[in-house]
């Protein structure tokens, strides 16, 4: 099994990745191996199993709607490469 070059380029575009031709070729095989690993499931008889998004049947109680102390702007922005006032600053995005 192998992915087409077009499939890899499409996924790369969605992920905002710029790949060289060599990287595209390598990813065709790498991504295919991920899919093959999952394909192992095809070997199982799952006709009696309902579609399941999670295998762990846990029920986690939701939390009460009570605010906690915020991080504070200094800590929140501590890792920001650029900031203006207390806002993160990023290269201009045209909405």
């Amino acid at each position: 099994m192998t992915l087409t070059e077009a499939q890899v380029r499409h996924v790369a575009k969605l992920a905002r990745l710029t790949l060289t031709d060599a990287e595209v070729a390598k990813a065709q095989g790498d991504l295919a191996r991920v899919l093959e690993a999952v394909q192992a499931l095809d070997g199982l008889d799952l006709s009696a199993v309902p579609p399941t998004v999670q295998v762990h049947p846990q029920v986690v109680a939701p939390e009460a709607d009570a605010p906690e102390a915020p991080l504070g702007v200094e800590r929140a922005l501590a890792n920001a490469p650029a900031k203006v006032g207390t806002s993160f600053s990023v290269p201009r995005v045209i909405g």
Binding site: V53, Q54, V60, D65, F88, V90, P91
Partner: protein, 476 residues
């Protein structure tokens, strides 16, 4: 060419911000007006290792909304990741509900000129909002504020059951009224806590397949919703009539030019790569919780309207006016607690003089008790309707008790029969010739006598009593 040949088909998606104190998956505050990024916790910033923990209040409000909109509330629903890249979405995905939303298969009755129409609601799901980008705050940069990131939203999706821009606007007003009555949303379109996208297409009458649909965004007032849908319908009809075809795309409404323009190109067609959210277990709601929410539902606006019309004798228009905002109906019902007269009279004053005062100068200081007192004074003949308007204006500004205003301004009517009779006798004695003319058949002179009596009493005589006494004496 004839737009009448085409049938518009409209479905609406509403994003309603839930009135919770904290965010959907973190206990960061949702309070409004904090400085940028002050209301953040690690999850809002997508810091590594942070995990989502569901807010119980969100689930409660979603169930309440689903039940009010006649939906099936699913005991198990699931979370998904919706991926896209934008600077105000630091995780790179939005947590939402995709294949298995919490509520499905509902409907909302909308009052239209031709009678009630049920607009089906296909689904309601819970999702988190993104942060805010400001593009004009600094040169060459966009500024990101993540205070709003993670705020809980309900997306309420209608079936394409709406057939005109007016129907769409009325559906929205009705939906807003329901959400306000439920206390789940503040209904503010301008500030974006109640947002609407419209899916619009047209088909020829008699056709069985829908036309290509366009998604309209940026509809932040009822007026814009209606106007944007109107111009979009026109655009579709013109395109089709001139041999062209509508392209499926997202368009933005520009209210200044009253036109829509393409927002995303086809090349960037949505590919959100949804998959189940691995950090959250399925959302499980107990049948008991659903039953409890159902038992606690308040009376909804449409039911209130019907009750006001059938039990209280109000007009349909007054009933609708009084149920648009929960505050209005609460005020009206509080007036009726104190006022023993006709409910219709109380409604008339609320939709008339009080609404006029409030439109002109804000909410004002009239309490339900004060309005009831004023209406009672009119019913008892202590003041005239005109004097009552004057009193209401003063109370609206000052908050004084109506009785105090009536006394201070000397507005009390004279309803003492003896006192009025004395004046009537004087007037008739002074106008002997007119009295003879009246008795000779000139009934119009009654108004003249009334005027004389009221003038002599400086306008304070009870007009009903004065008129009765005049007729009695003139007849004798």
């Amino acid at each position: 060419m004839p737009r009448a040949d085409f049938q518009p088909v409209i479905g609406l998606e509403v994003h309603a911000q839930l009135l919770t104190r904290t965010k959907l998956f973190s206990r960061a505050s949702t309070s409004f007006g904090a400085e940028p990024n002050a209301n953040t916790l690690p999850l809002c910033l997508a810091l590594p290792g942070s995990l989502p923990v569901l807010n119980a209040a969100v689930v409660e409000l979603a169930i309440r909304t689903g039940l009010a909109l006649d939906c099936t509330v699913n005991e198990v629903s699931e979370w998904s990741r919706k991926h896209y890249f934008y600077a105000d979405l630091p995780k790179g995905f939005q947590i939402t509900q995709y294949e298995h939303p919490i509520c499905e298969h509902g409907g909302l009755d909308v009052a239209l000129p031709g009678g009630d129409k049920r607009i089906r609601i296909s689904r309601i799901h819970i999702e988190e909002d993104a942060g805010k980008s400001v593009h004009d705050g600094a040169a060459g940069a966009s500024l990101i504020d993540l205070n709003r990131a993670g705020t809980p939203l309900l997306e309420i999706v209608s079936e394409p059951d709406l057939r005109s821009a007016e129907e769409a606007a009325e559906y929205l007003r009705t939906l807003r009224g329901v959400l306000l009555a439920l206390g789940v949303n503040d209904g503010n379109l301008e500030e974006g806590s109640f947002r609407c996208d419209a899916n619009v297409s047209v088909m020829r009458h008699g056709a069985t397949a829908y036309g290509t649909r366009v998604e309209l965004k940026n509809l932040n007032s009822f007026r814009f919703v209606q106007a944007a849908i109107e111009v979009e319908i026109d655009r579709h009809v013109e395109l089709i009539e001139s041999g062209g075809a509508v392209e499926q795309e997202t368009r933005l409404y520009d209210p200044d030019r009253n036109e829509t323009k393409a927002m995303r190109s086809k090349e960037d067609a949505h590919d959100y790569r949804y998959f189940p959210e691995p950090d959250l277990p399925p959302l499980v709601v107990s049948a008991e919780a659903i039953a409890a929410a159902r038992a606690a539902l308040p009376e909804l606006p449409r039911a209130k309207q019907r009750r006001y019309v059938s039990a209280l004798g109000l007009s349909e228009a007054d009933a609708r006016f009084l149920t648009q905002e929960p505050g209005s109906s609460a005020f009206f019902e509080a007036v009726l607690q104190h006022y023993r007269g006709e409910a219709k009279k109380a409604a008339n004053w609320m939709t008339g003089e009080l609404a006029r005062l409030r439109n002109a100068s804000g909410e004002g200081r009239v309490t339900p008790g004060a309005l009831a007192e004023l209406l009672t004074a009119v019913d008892q003949g202590r003041i005239s309707s005109n004097a009552a308007k004057e009193v209401l204006g003063v109370v609206h500004q000052s908050g004084e008790a109506p009785s105090a205003v009536i006394a201070a301004r000397g507005l009390e009517q004279v309803s003492d029969t003896g006192a009025i009779e004395k004046v009537v006798d004087e007037v008739l004695a002074k106008n002997a010739a007119d009295v003879a003319a009246y008795r000779g058949g000139n009934q119009k002179l009654l108004g003249h006598f009334m005027g004389q009596v009221m003038k002599a009493m400086k306008g304070k005589g009870n007009p009903q009593l004065a008129s009765e006494l005049l007729k009695k004496k003139l007849g004798g």
